[in-house]
Amino acid sequence: MTDEVIKAEGLTRVFNKSLVAVNHVNFGVKNGEIFGFLGPNGAGKTTTINMLITVLKPTEGRASVLGFDIAKQDNNVRNVIGVVPQEYTADEDLTGLENVLLCSDLYGIPRKIAKERAIELLKLVELTDFKDKKVETYSGGMRRRLELACGLINRPKVLFLDEPTLGLDVQTRVASWDYIRKLKKEFGMTLFMTTHYLEEADALCDRVAIIDHGKIVVVGTPEELKHSLGGDIITLRIKEDPDVSELIRTVEHVKDVKNEDGSYRIKAEYGEVTAPLIIEALRRKGYTVTKLMLTEPTLNEVYLEYTGKSMRDAEESREAFRAQRMTMWRARH
């Protein structure tokens, strides 16, 4: 077997014969890494993950998980993967332990082994004290951890996480990352996750694919992606109206200038040195800089660079939107 645990070639999914949710996507996930799918809502992340976990069939193209074809050997795939869905799927009327055991039954794990594992997993996600409480009493963070425990019950080689921290507050989100890292270390799994939180991708993922309109626009480690921007970003505004892009471009180290409604996005090496030079150049021509911001590239800049102006909040569908809203609502109650 090759080093690639997940391999997608021309993977495509079309809904209702017209809506192309995922459009000829190619990527490979290496053994043991955390691979992130980053993109705005509606970009095709969940559709991709649903194909990989054999819930949806691809319209075109193929993909394999641990060498098993997702369409032809779907049951083999199901046996070796774990899934932590975007939604809270745990049954509120059942206890945490009952929920984990239900998951184990779905894999046909004998009860004795299942019980040992359930106890061990619940301990790992620090839910031991709550294992006999109904899930409806759990907080959003606890529910996420329970979903993690459920997703690990069959000791998967590959774990799929769909928006693992959707709807959680910042502290809980950061804590969840720790759990994910810990579990990955404990079980030595390969992780495939989707997210639309940039800081999440930055903090967790070894490699990131940015997906937009159903297509992968770029793949690389967060560092590579940031580096690919070719330097720092200077954002500035001037008091006067005329377009000064050409003027700025003449300044040393400036690589690119974009005028976005009077706000200039300047890509430059050595930003801290270049910024004063730009101000000086502008002043000499009689322009006044009213606002200036210097940013070292983050994934946010990478994101803007590759997908357009900002995070679009276009929703996949009404149903997906409602499901997401419900997840967020339940996270807070």
Partner: protein, 318 residues
């Protein structure tokens, strides 16, 4: 393949887990369970007892009815006899009272086949509950889908068939449980079983309920899988439950209905279930018509479960 995979070779390993999940939820919610028992009790009490059809035909009610053309003068003279024979009016009215005394039960017996309406309708209640339980069984599928549970189950090695059949099985078990309660309560409240009744008949009742449940819930499941909104499913259920219920012999005998309703009632599977249960409990058993009812139910269950399960299957493996 590593030792952690492929534990169970059985195709059905998830079936019981999924069915059990829902039964557990149901049993853990005492309110739901209580309502499930209370609902038929209310129906039986209010509908079965308040609507005293037998009493309507009783002699005391007939006493007040003026039947035109028949009057009882003080003395009645029978002409052909020479000389007058006089029958006292008191005696005449007593005779008429006696004549009408049995008319209520007789009318009931002729129309409904039993002497009291309660026995008739409380058995119909079983069909009523079976129908409602199966109709709403699809609803949980809508929920499972919206909450993402369905997708999660689909990503596990549980066979798609087990996912579908767990819902059908769950509805069936619930309906049988409720039917048992209704039957028990009905007996307590005065259900009169026929002379042909014996305890083994109960097995026949269960078999018939099972058949109808499997057929109906498969269809409603397929519907639920297509309707993304719970409201859609609700609307469908509300639209068809009334015609299914009243264009059947659940509450009234088919023979008393206008022709066009009779036409519906005669293909309505609810009628056949009700008839089976009646024959096995309150009515004298007629082997050939019972066989016919069962055949109909078997065909219904086979055809509709094939349609329902095929549609669901197609949806789940899209």
């Amino acid at each position: 393949m590593s030792e952690t995979n492929g534990y169970s070779k059985s195709k059905l390993h998830g079936l019981w887990a999924l069915t059990n999940r829902e039964l557990k939820k149901w049993l853990k919610e005492p309110i739901l369970l209580f309502m499930a028992v209370l609902q038929p009790v209310l129906w039986m009490g209010l509908f079965g007892k308040a609507m005293n059809l037998g009493g309507m035909f009783s002699s005391s009610n007939f006493g007040n009815i003026n039947i035109p053309g028949i009057t009882f003068p003080g003395n009645y003279v029978i002409p052909p006899v020479s000389g007058n024979i006089t029958i006292p009016s008191a005696l005449l009215s007593q005779i008429s009272q006696q004549m009408f005394a049995n008319i209520g039960p007789n009318v009931m017996q002729n129309i409904f086949g039993v002497k009291d309406y309660f026995s008739y309708m409380s058995v119909g209640m079983i069909s009523f509950i079976v129908m409602f339980t199966t109709m709403f069984s699809g609803m949980s599928m809508v929920w499972d889908r919206r909450l993402g549970f369905l997708n999660k189950v689909l990503s596990t090695p549980v066979s798609r068939g087990a996912i579908i059949f767990s819902k059908v099985l769950n509805a069936t078990l619930r309906a049988m449980f409720q039917a048992t309660i209704i039957l028990t309560l009905a007996v307590i409240f005065g259900l009169q079983v026929s002379s042909t009744f014996n305890v083994l008949n109960i097995l026949g009742v269960y078999a018939a309920i099972f058949l109808l449940c499997v057929g109906l819930s498969s269809v409603f499941l397929a519907l639920a899988l297509r309707s993304t909104k719970q409201e859609t499913q609700m609307a469908i259920v509300n639209l068809i439950n009334l015609p299914l219920m009243f264009a059947s012999n659940t509450f009234f005998p088919i023979s008393m209905m206008p022709d066009w309703i009779q036409a519906i009632a005669r293909v309505n599977p609810i009628s056949y279930l009700t008839d089976v249960i009646r024959q096995l409990t309150v009515l004298p058993l007629n082997a050939s018509s019972l066989m016919f009812d069962f055949t109909y139910l078997v065909i219904f269950a086979a055809v509709f479960s094939v349609i329902g399960i095929t549609l669901s299957w197609r949806y789940l493996t899209k």
